[in-house]
């Protein structure tokens, strides 16, 4: 299975994502934001960073990149897409995922470990995890305060679209465990058809014990497992 990592001019986690999947032994290629084809990728990664300086709003300008038209139709046809951090913001801006991102309620950038509880294990991104499993994955963002109107939230919850929630180490959803003010401590969601994931934490930063943990691997391995079983 082949991965494609989209590179916007201000992406800065593109290489990290590239290496994360390459180190797991999968073919991967960069896709420049001006490219018009996805180079036969089976899963598209929209990496973190500041796609266009994140001026105006995070991800707002990136969604108009030429490559995004391809990504949108790929996703609409069931292709696997994962947006991490800035990639999540781009997915929100282009409407592949519902809701919007606000500035962290603490009004500061936060780079630290976060604990995530896995809320739904029957998706392409989480199938190797067990329900309620707690993962340690770092965050690094200034605008990760996920917002959605109450009706939208009900729907997300009802359809199992909330995949990850910020929790404490013991797995409890608490206000202290919420690093940015996200509604419902939401850290990651998928679309209604389950093939598009957006998450603020950075799994690509924890795929190696040398970097202090390897829980991030589970996401990439789940994707591969799902794809191969399909």
């Amino acid at each position: 299975m082949k991965f494609g990592v989209v590179v916007f001019p201000g992406s800065n986690c593109d290489a990290d994502c590239f290496h994360a999947v390459q180190d797991l032994g999968h073919p991967v290629e960069y896709i420049w934001h001006k490219d018009l084809d996805l180079k036969g990728s089976d899963c598209i990664i929209l990496p973190g960073g500041f796609s266009y300086g994140d001026y105006l709003r995070t991800g707002a300008i990136a969604r108009f990149s030429p490559v995004m038209e391809q990504v949108i139709s790929f996703a609409q046809n069931g292709g696997l897409v994962i947006g991490i951090c800035n990639g999540f913001q781009v997915l929100l801006e282009c409407g592949l995922l519902p809701g919007a991102m606000l500035r962290n309620d603490i009004l500061q950038f936060r780079c630290q470990d976060s604990w995530l509880r896995v809320e739904n294990t029957s998706t392409p991104f989480t199938n190797l995890m067990h329900a309620g499993q707690v993962l340690r994955v770092p965050i690094a963002h200034g605008e990760g305060n996920y917002f959605i109107e109450p009706e939208g939230l009900l729907q997300l919850e009802a359809q199992g679209q909330v995949l990850f929630r910020y929790v404490n180490q013991a797995g409890q959803v608490t206000p202290e465990a919420n690093p940015n003010g996200s509604v419902g401590n939401i850290a990651g969601i998928c679309n209604a058809t389950g093939n598009v994931l957006g998450m603020m934490p950075h799994p690509e930063r924890c795929v190696d014990e040398l970097l202090g943990g390897a829980h991030g691997k589970l996401i990439f391995q789940s994707i591969v497992a799902w794809f191969e079983r399909r």
């Binding site: 707002a60 801006e93 809701g99 919007a100 606000l102 500035r103 309620d105 009004l107 959605i148």
Partner: protein, 82 residues
């Protein structure tokens, strides 16, 4: 030349932590009169010569497409001649 002054604000229903922080700062700086602060964005968009109606139409379009995010924001604008 026409300039569109675009104001973009968070919807009323959405919490504005930045505005709250400014309000608290002002209160503690000796301005107890400040009851509320909301922060938004202002953009001055200079347009090459064109008819006013056309300008209204395209600025509105730009706001919807790019400048504001309808999920969380509202916008308004006025056109001024300079």
């Amino acid at each position: 030349m026409l300039t569109a002054k675009v104001l973009i604000t968070l919807k009323k229903s959405i919490l504005d932590p930045q505005g709250n922080t400014i309000k608290r700062a002002l209160n503690s700086m000796g301005y107890p009169e400040v009851a509320d602060v909301r922060q938004g964005k202002m953009m001055e968009v200079k347009l090459n010569d064109m008819a006013r109606e056309k300008a209204v139409a395209i600025v509105d379009e730009m706001c919807q497409k790019l400048l504001a995010n309808p999920v969380i924001e509202e916008y308004s604008f006025e056109l001024v001649e300079d």
